[in-house]
Symmetry: C2
Subunit: 429 residues, 2 copies
């Protein structure tokens, strides 16, 4: 039996605790699969005294987290602190610079500093792995980086935030509105007290920028992701989408085209016959479209102690087995700086919802704005549904450039007929 792989854990929250519990539960199995034991030798977290329900006395406690990088008896540091900068980044830099392996679930850090960390990993000949950073327990990083490696990828997209999908599914199943369901999700622990990162699409955007980098051979470009979350989706939008044969899902989508890299997180209408339409609750799912393999679909738990720990330990097993390979699927020096594609040129169908005053001439004004901007209307529905005294008008456009829809909305800006911001959602094609 080869020597154990010696691991230091930084951060002992849900994920860190889960890693210890998983390694305890499946110790023998993991040793057989990894070809050697995987042993936690040191731990570090903010609060030494908190009861985590695990016997931590068998591990060396290190007060200064960043010191884990320099411990001679450590082969790999697994970081589960979180945060794009601060202690997690300090630890990542120091660990990789010291030539030690680094495993992380930290999507924000990779989205912002992925290129730098990949360069450090290569320079130090140290593995850098982050399966847990995207879509929790689903091996989608591995699926893209290795499983689909023979393919030029056209698009990669998916449901990357379990909180949003939980909320949208619940709004759909129970016909309720966003604010109410969010409050319930917070009470149940499915949403954070400050849910901004989740519901405004930031978390999904972090993950999307990592997937895009691997899929397209570009540097992670979080700043270029257009992100809009689900705050403005009404129960009535979900009902209207259903009547049109669609479900509303927060989809992160990246596409490489002749005009550059397009990355967007936005609520979409997804047709019933698309696999993403059947992803409910806090489940995540990712689709990758390859030029030879066609459409690959991965689905599973996107968060939670067990699934996230499963992904972290899978990375540790890879390292124990001696599995190498560049973090973003090709050497950092070959990753291109992406040009952000202009979304105005994108063609597609779209859903538009207006909240309007209930009076003569409103529909004519909307229809005229569409016509003048060159937007062709496939269907327009006003069902007499009222929200706070206003009427909802839903429009589905024919396929056309997004630029035209944006122009139509611009023409309507400030109109006395509109009682609030219109909601635009692309229809997944």
């Amino acid at each position: 039996m080869a020597d154990a792989l010696r691991v230091a854990l930084a951060g002992l929250g849900t994920v860190g605790g889960g890693v210890i519990r998983l390694l305890d539960a499946n110790r023998d199995l993991i040793t057989r699969r990894a070809g050697r034991p995987i042993e936690v030798v040191a731990i570090s977290a903010r609060d030494r005294t908190r009861d985590r329900g695990i016997d931590l006395s068998r591990f060396a406690w290190v007060d200064d987290t960043s010191a884990l990088a320099a411990q001679d008896d450590v082969d790999v540091v697994a970081e589960m602190i979180g945060g794009s900068d601060g202690p997690a980044l300090t630890l990542a830099r120091a660990t990789l610079a010291a030539g030690r392996g680094f495993v992380t679930a930290n999507k924000a850090m990779l989205a912002h500093h992925g290129l730098e960390l990949a360069e450090l990993a290569e320079r130090g000949n140290a593995p850098l792995k982050f399966e847990a950073a995207v879509a929790g327990g689903i091996p989608v990083i591995k699926g893209l980086r290795e499983g689909a490696a023979a393919n030029a990828i056209g698009r990669v997209y998916g449901i990357l935030n379990g909180t949003c999908n939980f909320i949208l599914s619940k709004m759909e199943a129970e016909g309720r509105d966003f604010a109410e369901v969010l409050a319930e999700a917070q009470a149940l622990g499915y949403a954070e007290a400050d849910p901004t990162f989740d519901i405004d699409g930031i978390d999904a955007a972090h993950k999307l920028s990592i997937l895009a980098s691997i899929a397209f051979g570009t540097r992670p470009a979080f700043a270029a992701v257009q992100a809009q979350g689900i705050r403005h989706v009404l129960g009535a939008d979900i009902a209207e989408a259903a009547a049109l044969g669609h479900r509303v899902r927060l989809v992160g989508l990246a596409e490489a085209g002749p005009h550059g890299l397009f990355q967007r997180v936005h609520p979409h209408l997804v047709p019933f016959d698309h696999p993403l339409a059947h992803v409910t609750g806090s489940t995540n799912a990712v689709v990758a479209e390859g030029d030879h393999v066609g459409r690959l679909f991965f689905q599973g738990a996107g968060a939670g102690e067990g699934p996230t720990a499963s992904a972290v330990v899978a990375d540790l097993i890879d390292i124990a087995r001696g599995v190498a390979g560049p973090p973003f699927a090709m050497p950092a020096a070959l990753l291109a700086a992406p040009t952000a594609a202009d979304s105005g040129e994108r063609r597609g169908r779209a859903y538009l919802r207006f909240t309007v005053e209930d009076r003569v001439g409103v529909l004519a004004e909307i229809a005229a704005a569409m016509r003048d901007a060159g937007v062709s209307i496939e269907s327009l529905i006003q069902r007499g549904v009222t929200v706070e005294g206003h009427v909802l008008v839903a429009i589905v456009t024919h396929e056309g450039p997004e630029r035209c829809v944006a122009q139509a909305l611009e023409r309507l800006r400030g109109s006395q007929s509109l009682a609030g911001q219109p909601l635009w959602m692309p229809i997944l094609g």
Copy 2:
């Protein structure tokens, strides 16, 4: 740039030709991802003169396929000949014994000789990879062997044969019967002239035995797979299943339990809300249930030139990157010889369909046989549907041991009331 990975291709049918075309199409991309070029240096096939639409003059042609194993300028042999024994097996043994890598899409060979080949690979310190052998382009071998490696797997199951799923989907969509749709599938090239391996579940059983080995750390045990195909499924069964909220799918399922390893390929009723129910056409899909990760779901193209070539080249890229690891997820010496679990003890709900004479007392006879065997009936439907002058009776049982259902069917054997063999299908729980 490191030296090229030098590959010999054995077999130039659809898959072999596809590998050459893929390597040509994505040469630069693959070189960047693999860290070195992947070059075909030699080829061998039965017929040198056949026009394959590819310029083969740039490769060294080798008449004796088995000689590829001994060529000093070859690092890896990719075998796409097929067949569990014969030239493919000779080549595999010789290649691995010579310490060269071996990549194959040959599920039959792995199902029958997987243990021996894994042992040879370990002895020769040579990579043995077979992503293309199961579920075509879907990276499910990698997903199980690496992505889910931290988990004890409870069950692994899925739709493993595209031909059967194509036929069942078409029967479902068009309300037609098996023989008619099979003939059409053969005319379209979706089914072989001799479709036995596909429609009788043998091909799915080969694949299931490979998945089970990886999931449960057991030796591939093809002989222990209970296999029944889709020949006996009527259009009326599919309609009845739909009325009950289910679709009929040929599911290969392996489960590790206290009584041993259970492996079966059989048509199942799959509830509408299960992801497998939405897998249509020749698509494949695999579910793995891990103790920490929960339910992982992989879906994609299960066959065809592009997807299969994608999987073969993914294996070559892994080898070029220096990715190691045991073929069946743990060293061959640690793979346990599985005990086959007795299916009689399995508990579940089931669908039973009887084709009966249209006369007094038939239902009473069936109901009595069920009662006497201890089978509890959840619903019994006789809709007046006649097939060739006979009447169909469909029963759904409450959950209970399969043994009891088998006893009930045994009691009815030879009954003058039955116009043919009853069809039993488990309901996926």
